[in-house]
Every structure is written in structure tokens, then in C-alpha cells.
């Protein structure tokens, strides 16, 4: 990955939650077209990193640049407009609204009615099960369908960079496989992906590169294949 094409760049990013020092100088790069994975245990700072990128929490120091522009002080709703969409942990769909309304809200920042319609069709083609349930209240969907809806909703913002926070959480192995192959498809269609996962095995399978986080620090980085063979990673995250 050439450094020049870096789409997203984190330089010495620190985040504090009150007295707790959650991110201790994170350096991270995501190149255009890549799938980059962040792996690590609970509380390592994976979700915090994503939230800092999408502006939901403020960084205490450091620089986050996206397509050459410093976005560390940009408010969350402006960051979405720049093309960064996040699929939050635990899906967080709008439970009392229909599948259709959820997707429409995904296109909230957009005004191009034609493009929205086109993307809606694209999402429904990608997730035929959502098409079947288009008028259903989203809270009544199964876990896997809700995850699909959350991804579909993020796609409706027409992102250049998609941040996925634990998309495999609470899903059956077969569904996890399905979700991951969809993530790969989305990537192949031209969306850059930064993926946070506890399921390190799956994450390393689809990622190009990966970072390992421990208590707020990046302890390892490299290509996904390298990391999958690395002794420490095997021991800690892949079960020997």
C-alpha cells in the first residue's frame, strides 16, 4: 500500500473519557480500496477509535486526516457528508420505524432523489430479505436481518469509507460468513472498509491489513496473512 494513497490517517490520536485514558497515541492508516481490520480484546479501544474517526467523541490530541483534510474537530453530522459512514456496534437500527424508513433515513444527508432510488434498489438487491420485509417494523427483524439493515442504512449515505463495528456480534456462524462475504462485495464495489472485530479469524480472512490493539495502544500491525501466522496473535486471538 503506497503511503501516498492514504485515505484515512490517524497520527498520535489520544482520547480520554474523564480520567480514563482510552486511546494512547494511535497511529493508523487506511489506503483507498483496502479492507483494514482492527482486532483486540474487550476494552482495547477498538470502538473508541471508530467513534473518534466519525466525530462522535472528541479526541484530546492528535490528528485525524481524511483525504488530506484534518477532520479531528469536525462535528459528526459533517463527517457523514464527507463520505464516512459508520455501522455502529449493536446495530442501533431505528426499532420503531419500518425497514423502508430506516433506509430512507440513511439517505438523510442526500438530496438527489434519483440517486437515492437507485441506491435503495442496490441495497435491496444486495439484501433480498430486506426487500421481503420492506414494510415491517425494524425491531421485529432477526439479529442477522437487523445487521443487514444497519449495513444497508450506512450504504444509503453512499460512503467512500465505511466503518464497521463488530458486525458479527451475536450472530450464528453461518450468518457471520454471509455478512463477511457481503462486506467483501461492498469493498469490491469500491468502498474502503475499516473493520473492528473480536472474531479475529474471520476479520483476518477478509482484510488486507490489520492492527492489533491492546489497552489503547497498537501493539502489532502488518498484512493480514502475516498477522494470522504471528505467534502472539495466534495465542491471544486465534486460540493457539
Amino acid at each position: 500500500m503506497g503511503r501516498v494513497e492514504a485515505m484515512l490517517n490517524l497520527e498520535d490520536v489520544n482520547v480520554h473519557y474523564g480520567a480514563i485514558w482510552a486511546l494512547k497515541g494511535i497511529n493508523l492508516t487506511v489506503g483507498e480500496g483496502e479492507i483494514v481490520s482492527l482486532i483486540g480484546a474487550n476494552g482495547a479501544g477498538k470502538s473508541t477509535t471508530l467513534r473518534a474517526i466519525s466525530g462522535i467523541i472528541k479526541t484530546s490530541s492528535g490528528k485525524i486526516s481524511y483525504q488530506g483534510e484534518d477532520i479531528s474537530k469536525t462535528p459528526a453530522h459533517e463527517i457523514v457528508k464527507k463520505g464516512i459512514a459508520q455501522v455502529p456496534e449493536g446495530r442501533r437500527i431505528f426499532a420503531n420505524l419500518t425497514v423502508m424508513e430506516n433506509l430512507e433515513l440513511g439517505a438523510y444527508i442526500r438530496k438527489d432523489a434519483k440517486g437515492i432510488k437507485q441506491d435503495m434498489e442496490g441495497v435491496l438487491d444486495r439484501f433480498p430479505r430486506l426487500r421481503e420485509r420492506i414494510g415491517q417494523i425494524a425491531g421485529t427483524l432477526s439479529g442477522g436481518e437487523q445487521q443487514m439493515l444497519a449495513i444497508g442504512r450506512a450504504l444509503m449515505t453512499r460512503p467512500k469509507l465505511m466503518l464497521l463495528d463488530e458486525p458479527s456480534m451475536g450472530l450464528a456462524p453461518l450468518l457471520v460468513k454471509e455478512i463477511f462475504s457481503i462486506i467483501q462485495e461492498i469493498n469490491q464495489d469500491g468502498t474502503t472498509i475499516l473493520l473492528v472485530e473480536q472474531n479475529a479469524r474471520m476479520a483476518l480472512q477478509i482484510a488486507h491489513r490489520a492492527y492489533v490493539l491492546e489497552t489503547g495502544r497498537i501493539v502489532l500491525e502488518g498484512s493480514a496473512q502475516e498477522l494470522a501466522k504471528h505467534e502472539d496473535v495466534k495465542k491471544a486471538y486465534l486460540g493457539g
Binding site: 453530522h77 457528508k81 459508520q86 455502529p88 442501533r92 420505524l97 433515513l105
Partner: protein, 321 residues
């Protein structure tokens, strides 16, 4: 085509209601007591619908409605009673004053959630009341008198229609969608690019302005204002109307306001039992219908058609849609 038809039906129904009541009042068929209660129903509909915009649609639990109403009432009364300026100006000033206060209160407090926001807005309402009690210019505790009597049925009617239309159009717009997304999940709303602070404050300000309008009508009907009229009990009454009708249902607010106002009018005759029955009704509705009479649904012409079909025995015999 069908949409125009239902709009036409609604307009016709409203016109008939307007004329029927106007004839009833002018001919004396509706007694003075019920005219008062009718106006009160109107004022309460505005209060309930505007509180529902904040609490039901945007999901922010505000208890400051009496405060905004008081600001609307007092500021408009100062315009007409103290300064002798015309009533239309008083309406504008009353609504603007309430809206402005909404911005000032909303910006800092809407960062709070749930219980904390409730307590902060409750505190605001009480502050307004105590401050008014200590300003001699508006009569202090003994109240502001000699406010011109301006309110009549057309004024009430069109104020209610204006308020409901404003809220309905807001909810059905993309702004309304944004408010709904804030209620459903503010983190996800943020991730979809919704400026959540803006929409929380916007809904709060529109709600406050309409509460101000209700205050203006109140002031110019009763012609006397006392700070104690705007105690926490008033907010509580409005909240009950919203809850009974259904949080997140505009037509529910109308139904709730009508039921509660008419019920308390009937219960006037037995004042010692009034609060007991009132409380019992609340408990019953909380146990058996916690989502309110209408839940989040709206009464529409389509539903009425279906209901009509039930009575005529046509639903079930043929599939609609």
C-alpha cells in the same frame, strides 16, 4: 386524486364543525359554561400537541410547558394591557418571547437526558412562576388585570388548526424524520448525518412557541393572569393529555385534550372527588393502555373508511389494497 379527496373531506368536516359551533354559540344553544370549556379544549389541544412534538416525537422529556405558556401569556398581556398596543402584535410577541426562551433554555438543557432534562425543565417552569410573582410591573402575586377580552370562537378555531397544521407538516417533512430518528436512537441518528442538537432545540422551540400561543389565548380570554395559574400542575395536566392520547400521535393529543378537559368539566360538580376519579382514570389507562389510546397511530380518513366499512359490513367481504 384520493389524497385531494381526503383533504377535501377534512376541510368540509372542519368547516361544518366551525359553522355548527358558531351557530350554537350565537343562538345560545351552547351555554356559557360549555363555551368556556370549549375554548379551554382548544387551548389544551394546542398545549398537548406542542408538548407531544417535544416529548412524543423527539423523545425529550420536557416538563417546562407551563413556563413557556406563562411567558407567552404575560408578554402578550403586557403588549395589550400595559402598553395598549393591538392584539395581533401581542400574538407575535407572545410566541416570539416563548420561542426565544425556548432557545435559551434548550441549548444548555437538551444536552441532558431523560430524568435530568425533566428536572431541569421543571426547574425552569418554577423559576418563571417565581420571577413573575416578584415583578410589580406585571402585578406580582396579585396578578395582571385589565387584559382586553379578545378571544372568540373563530380565533380559537383557527389557532388550533394553525398549530396542528404546523406540527403535522413539520413531522411529515424530512425535519420530522430527523426528529424521529433522534427519538429512536440519537447515536445512530448522528451517524446518519443528523445534527441532533439542532433538531432537539428546533422541536423544543416550536413546542415552546405554540405553548406561548396557548398562553396568549388564555390571557385574552380570562383577562386576568396570576403566576399561580402556571404551576407545575398545569404541565402535569397537559402531560396527562399527551399520555392518554398517545405519545407520538398528533390526533391522539387532540383526543386526549378533549377527553381530559371534558372529564374535568363534568367533575367540576363533585370537586371533592374530582382528583380521586382523575387519578383512578390515570391508573386504569396506565395499566390497560400504557401506550395511550392511539399509541403512535394517527386517525386518518382511511381508518375512518375502514371503520365505516365494519359498520356497513363491507370489510372482510372484499380485500382492500
Amino acid at each position: 386524486m384520493k389524497k385531494y379527496l381526503s383533504t377535501l373531506i377534512i376541510c368540509l368536516a372542519l368547516a361544518m364543525l366551525f359553522v355548527a359551533v358558531q351557530v350554537g354559540i350565537s343562538s345560545g344553544l351552547i351555554s356559557g359554561y360549555w363555551v368556556t370549556n370549549l375554548y379551554l379544549v382548544g387551548i389544551n389541544i394546542i398545549l398537548a400537541a406542542s408538548l407531544n412534538l417535544i416529548n412524543g416525537f423527539t423523545g425529550e422529556f420536557s416538563l417546562g410547558h407551563a413556563g413557556f405558556m406563562a411567558i407567552g401569556a404575560y408578554s402578550s398581556a403586557v403588549i395589550t394591557a400595559n402598553l395598549g398596543l393591538p392584539f395581533p402584535l401581542a400574538v407575535i410577541v407572545g410566541m416570539l418571547a416563548a420561542a426565544l426562551t425556548g432557545v435559551l433554555v434548550g441549548l444548555p438543557t437538551l444536552r441532558l437526558r431523560g430524568d435530568y432534562l425533566a428536572i431541569a425543565t421543571l426547574g425552569f417552569g418554577e423559576i418563571v412562576r417565581v420571577v413573575l410573582m416578584n415583578i410589580d410591573y406585571v402585578g406580582g402575586a396579585s396578578g395582571l388585570r385589565n387584559i382586553p377580552f379578545v378571544v372568540n370562537w373563530p380565533l380559537i378555531f383557527f389557532s388550533v388548526v394553525f398549530s396542528l397544521l404546523l406540527i403535522r407538516n413539520f413531522i411529515c417533512s424530512s425535519h420530522g424524520r430527523a426528529c424521529l430518528s433522534v427519538r429512536e436512537n440519537d447515536l445512530a441518528a448522528q451517524m446518519m448525518g443528523v445534527n441532533i442538537t439542532y433538531y432537539k432545540v428546533l422541536a423544543f422551540v416550536i413546542g415552546a412557541a405554540l405553548a406561548g400561543l396557548a398562553g396568549v389565548l388564555y390571557a385574552h380570554y380570562y383577562t386576568i393572569l396570576q403566576p399561580r395559574d402556571f404551576s407545575f400542575m398545569l404541565t402535569f395536566d397537559v402531560l396527562v393529555m399527551v399520555m392518554v392520547g398517545g405519545l407520538g400521535s398528533l390526533t391522539g393529543s387532540v383526543v386526549g385534550a378533549v377527553i381530559i378537559t371534558v372529564a374535568s368539566a363534568f367533575l367540576q360538580a363533585i370537586p371533592e372527588l374530582r382528583m380521586v376519579i382523575y387519578a383512578a382514570l390515570l391508573i386504569l389507562s396506565a395499566v390497560f393502555r400504557p401506550q395511550g389510546l392511539l399509541g403512535e397511530k394517527e386517525v386518518t380518513i382511511n381508518i375512518l373508511q375502514k371503520l365505516g366499512g365494519v359498520f356497513n359490513g363491507t370489510v372482510g367481504s372484499k380485500q382492500t389494497n
